[in-house]
Amino acid sequence: MHDYPFVFNLTWLIPLPTALAFFAIILFTNPKKRLSSNVAIAAVVVAWILSWAVAFAFFLKPELVEEPINIAVPWLPIADGYFSMGVAVDAVTAGMLFMVGFVLTMIFIYSSGYMTFPGHLDPEQFPEVAKEGLDPRYSRFFAYISLFATGMLGLVVADNLLMLFIFWEIMGLCSYLLIGFWFEKTYPDPNQITPKQAGLKAFLTTRVGDVLFMMGLIFLFIHAGTLNFQAIFKDAHFLEELATSTVTLPIFGAVSWAALISILIFWGAIGKSAQFPLHVWLPDAMEGPTPVSALIHAATMVSAGVYLIVRMAPLFAASSHAATGALPFVAFIGAFTALFAATIGVAQKDIKKVLAYSTISQLGYMFAALGIGAWVAAIIHLLVHAFFKALLFLGSGSVIHGVEHGHHHVHEHGHGHDDEHGHEEYFDPQDMFNMGGLLKRMPITGWTFIAGALSLAAFPFITAGFWSKDEILAHAWDGGHMAVYWALAIGAFLTAFYTFRQVFLTFFGEPRTEAAAHAPESVRAMTWPLVALAFFAIFGGFVAVPKEFPIFGKIASDFMLHLMEMQGEIYPFLEVEPAKFNWTPALISMVLALSGIVLAWLVYGWKPLKAGQPDPLKRWLGPVYTVLEKKYYFDELYHLIAVRPTLWLASFFARFDRGVIDRIVNWVGAFGRWLAAALRKWFDERFIDGVVNIVGMATTWTGAAVRLIQTGQVQTYLLILLLSVAVLLLLIPLR
């Protein structure tokens, strides 16, 4: 082992505090809600400090990229030697630790303010809990997110694919638990998905990807004999062999092992990162509490998919080295999803659904970047996106919280004219058309949200999102991937449009409901994480500005870009050439982004919507709008091709079971009864009973004989013991 600073010995401790917090909360502090949240926050702060200690130790010593730190212990004896488990730190891990530690902490703190008594529960039903003002399952929530944080941190520091998979599945479990956190919640509209169903949907959908991922993992292990990242990916010879040896599949024909494993693993990422065609779970996952949306569906879990592909990039690159390989597939899925999700985002009414689709879309950007070889750009976008998307989600949560509070406020004080109908009529606090003019009511939330929105819309020069997205587009242009470029560029335009549609609908104009008019600013535990995140959403990009970029290249730093490039260079096959700067794509994307913002202002900002007024887009786009609003009918399609046949098959088997199997079983049973009756009469009553009686009598006789020595006195027993031992000792010489 080479020398490394002592602080890296702490790496394995990073996932530990939150895991301990999970057990502590579940086992001990569960009844004390505030204590539970404090335990969880303390744990995540420790994890954050450890993460940053490790991350900065790495940033301060960039030469470590040559020989990433790997500390492992033999864990599981396998055929020849041990399967080692351990932690590894390279530049990618360090970057992820930097982001994950911070974002997790912000979300934890935010949650402690957010998880108040939920709106869907009747306070009169739980007077005790409602008086306390906290969610009835407040402690449990913090236990879950602690476990989730363990999963994410463990995944980031894992040094092998199996350990990564284990933590990956822990996160899957947590996402199921957290999405369905308010499992008792129902809606008046039976077609609207409930949290319970949404959790199930997310779990089952990602399972499709995970099974394929595990197949890929097993194939990789069969070929490599190890799953350690460094061991596999630094071995150029092995990768070459994997890329050239082929396997013949039923439909696809001959493909290289590398391509097959890559694509199987990529399916895992598709499921986790909600890429087309497994994207359907993510929008519905918005049923969970908003911090969960931020935690799982923006900053951390979905980016785990991207992280996985970043980790496995040498394998992907190797697969495309000789033949077509896996990269074009990745690029296609990414670019398609980026554009596809952006179009859906345009027509959503729910403030969180818009963000959900934008997440899908942005993840598509990252996959597209990975597909076209822009490895570094993908990592940078991954990190930057996490900051501003977490910010946006937390901001939207703050908005929803405010509107909900406003709603309650109106009801309690009874100065709304629809007071009598208030209880029957369902009020959706997440519908943007119920909002408006919130910037005045919630200034901190509003301004930080706008900062995040600017970053997401890639507002030129001053936002982090611009630099990371520009890098991807520059790569696409530079590498000659025109289809990808245009898909992403149009996606960028749409992103800017729907983002600012959201901003204008929510924060500008006049309040469209009483609830919005009375929305209060959120508590400090919720606002200051927003401020902290906004800082990174704006300025986080200035460590990744290309040197050649005019003006900004001189004044900002390209530290992160450079570090990741150096990291990428140690792997064979992976090309990490920085894109050459070109004015054409940069100007095009800038113009598109700005025009998206302007268009949004024209439609929603210039003449703010009045209460009850429909979306003007609906008028102009007509049926297309409906298609978009219904998300291209993907849910219905899946229902038709997957859920319905399954249900039909199940009912068919149920009928078959009742009609055929049950009859056979009944007949066998009847025969058995007849046989048993016959046997009992002729065999049991005569023979068996006789034997049993003899045994019983024998026991009685023996007992009567033996009870003589059971005096109840220890000394007698000892005497018998002595005699027995003496007999045994006598046997020794006789042997």
Binding site: Q713, Q715, L719, L723, A726, L729
Partner: protein
């Protein structure tokens, strides 16, 4: 020669004392005989060049255990009814068993081939015992200390009046 005579003397006295301890009808006398046995064994330990154990035997067995027994006898004075004998009904069987056990064990022990090693006891024997207790045998040592603590607590719990 002197050693043999000394051994026979001490051993004979000790065995007689031991017999007294199990035969004496008066429990207090039995306990005193027991003290004599402990003392005799301490002398035997010293004859075997184990001075430390010999002295420790006196401290622990006479100073602690025998005193405790005498104390308990004094606390339960006149416990034995006058009419009751010292032995239970099975005493002849026990006697036969004990004699048989003695003969058997003696026979076995005499038959067993032991590999004698004649060497002097190390000069720093006590140091070695101490180091052994906190070195090789540190786990049993700690277990024994915990055992004593538990015995202490247990004895208090058992004997206190409720």
């Amino acid at each position: 020669m002197v050693g043999q005579v000394l051994f026979i003397l001490v051993a004979a006295i000790t065995l007689l004392m031991a017999l007294g301890a199990v035969v004496a009808k008066n429990l207090f006398h039995a306990a005193l005989f027991l003290v004599g046995v402990f003392f005799g064994i301490a002398v035997l330990f010293i004859l075997l060049d184990a001075e430390f154990l010999g002295v420790a035997q006196i401290v622990i067995y006479i100073g602690a255990i025998a005193t405790l027994i005498v104390f308990a006898i004094m606390l339960s004075k006149n416990v034995m009814g006058k009419e009751a004998g010292a032995y239970n009904r099975n005493w002849y069987a026990a006697m036969a068993g004990a004699v048989f056990l003695f003969l058997l064990l003696a026979w076995l022990l005499l038959k067993a081939p032991f590999q004698m090693v004649s060497a002097d006891v190390p000069a720093d024997a006590i140091t070695q015992i101490g180091q052994g207790l906190v070195g090789t045998y540190v786990v049993p040592f700690e277990v024994a200390s915990v055992l004593l603590l538990v015995a202490l607590v247990g004895a208090i719990m058992l004997a206190r009046e409720r």
